[in-house]
Symmetry: C2
Subunit: 339 residues, 2 copies
């Protein structure tokens, strides 16, 4: 059972609204996708999402650099806008922290946050501060999209190809190094970057939205197995995933010996913030031709197809197909399956 | 020193943006007021604010009813929209809580939240959940205002009259009962309502904005002494406050004996969520005539005047004027002056 999903459903049930009145004309998309869509004019939609980033749940204040905590709090929230194909614009910061972190720690946190804001071209417009026993960060991000162009989770249809950007499992590999206290070893420094400073796929998301190339999209925050399941459930479809085609992280032999398996990391590792999207077969040629023109370039890999049968099947090239269970990222508490 | 203000200024300094580009045309008002104002069309502005509500900082999960925690999390966030004269529309909920609170506690929390949403006519459009050792609530609220009509903190001018809605100190009186463990005593039940279920002044705020009657406005979240200081600083003015005119809470003799002083509660008590606003002398007559027509009725009291000299003076009817220091609400940690 997806514990987070269950709680979200209880919230949605309790907060269900009848008689929307004036709000109805403004609300294009409510709960359940990567972000909500609000419309005030015919020319533009606001796309809104919020994201908690909590000490001892999402990061360890003594192991993770303060600059990474600041950077990542905004980057991960903004990935939800990328997943809609929206252009990031504004954010609000709600920050609670212990008095002992208001000195140098806060300065470095803010430097990391400012670095992310510059890179994402986002403007801080408001917020809230308080004292708390643990560092508690909440980011609300606001983006903009052309009306009708945002890409939802729910549009995948049988026969659509499934694509993923970048390389999967890199962020989880970095997290494993931190959890095993190997992150100060200079030998593995380069492997930490995807974990500490992830880059949401803003340009790719916006490009897919403008060209109407993706039928459905979600960002990979909780791992391929979990997020593909969510996209399929929202679309009322299933999927066939080809194991051999998954662009998995390269794990050095020294770390493989510690039990770090590339495919396991790629399937269940969280926080890659890559985009998972589906494309109608007619759009695939355009996707390949045009993707080359994307500034900076981004690797796109076809990893399977959407199926009618509501089940996710993992196809191993030399074995029998097996069914895939969501085994995504569970933060620092393996006991919990709650995001 | 206002510790919260100091931290907000550090955040603003670090996150300052040059070359706003496309965002500039959308951003009407950024950090530093009760909420930010974003414009997408000529007909309407979005007014956005966020607010953390944290266990052991803003509430005690074992003393405060879960329904009150849910209700108040939204009510207090929405008070920032009332303070701009905006009409509340949407909200996002970021909720982290311990596994032991996911049963009945969560149900009651959601019932209280749903009650507030119905009363305020707001729609939940998104959010985020996680497990955490303490209950951590973050509300982002989105309202709507006619362009140019939102009321800022910065518009007060010398000679303007200072008004306040309702009765001050009621919420703090309720909090004191909880802190002294008197809140289960049936004798004082009625005194808890303003603390547990505050009512943001949406109708009054919107009415003042539509009639352009208030030159500046702020909601009383941290206490009259602190919030009046903030309004004066934002406007670059001072104030003369008449102690005898402050509409202070009535404290039963049995509680006065415990040291609960009505004027102290009214001056420094937090969380009343009443509105503090200034009115040009020309507008006062209209204010009094028209206020009577406000549905439900709301008591408005003139408590002083804005002055040129940047100082807040407290005038006691039979004594010498003294200068007022901000002594507002400091949550559950008297050591901290940080909101």
């Amino acid at each position: 059972v997806d514990r987070e999903q269950e709680i979200i459903e209880r919230i949605a049930r309790k907060l269900r609204t009848r008689n929307l009145g004036h709000e109805a004309s403004r609300l294009v998309l409510g709960m359940g996708d990567d972000a909500a869509i609000l419309r005030l004019s015919r020319r533009s939609d606001f796309v809104v999402s919020c994201d908690a980033f909590l000490e001892n749940v999402h990061f360890l204040a003594d192991s993770h650099p303060a600059a990474s905590v600041g950077y990542k709090s905004l980057a991960r929230a903004t990935s939800d806008l990328a997943a809609m194909g929206a252009t990031p614009r504004f954010f609000l910061l709600s920050l609670a922290l212990p008095a002992k972190r208001t000195g140098k720690w806060l300065d470095q946190f803010l430097s990391g946050l400012a670095q992310a804001a510059r890179g994402l071209r986002m403007v801080l417009v408001g917020g809230d501060t308080a004292e708390n026993s643990q560092v508690t960060v909440n980011l609300t991000v606001i983006g903009e999209a052309e009306p009708g162009r945002a890409i939802l989770r729910s549009g995948a249809r049988p026969g659509d190809a499934i694509y993923v950007s970048g390389t999967l499992g890199q962020a989880q590999l970095g997290l494993e190094l931190v959890l095993r206290k190997l992150h100060r070893n200079s030998r593995w420094q380069k492997l930490l970057k995807a974990h500490l400073y992830p880059q949401p796929r803003i340009a790719l998301g916006g490009w897919l939205a403008r060209r109407r190339l993706a039928s459905a999209m979600i960002d990979l925050s909780d791992g391929l197995s979990t997020d593909l399941t969510r996209l399929c459930e929202a679309s009322g479809v299933g999927a066939r995933l080809r194991l051999g085609q998954i662009p998995a992280v390269t794990v050095p032999a020294g770390l493989r010996r510690l039990g770090l398996d590339p495919l396991r990391l790629a399937l269940d590792g969280g926080e890659d913030y890559e985009l998972l999207f589906t494309v109608h077969p007619r759009g695939e040629k355009e996707l390949h031709t045009a993707a080359a023109s994307l500034r900076g370039g981004v690797k796109l890999t076809r990893i399977g197809e959407i199926t009618r049968k509501k089940q996710i099947i993992l196809v191993v090239s030399d074995g029998r197909p097996t069914s895939l269970r969501p085994g995504g990222w569970v933060h620092f508490r393996p006991r919990m399956r709650w995001r």
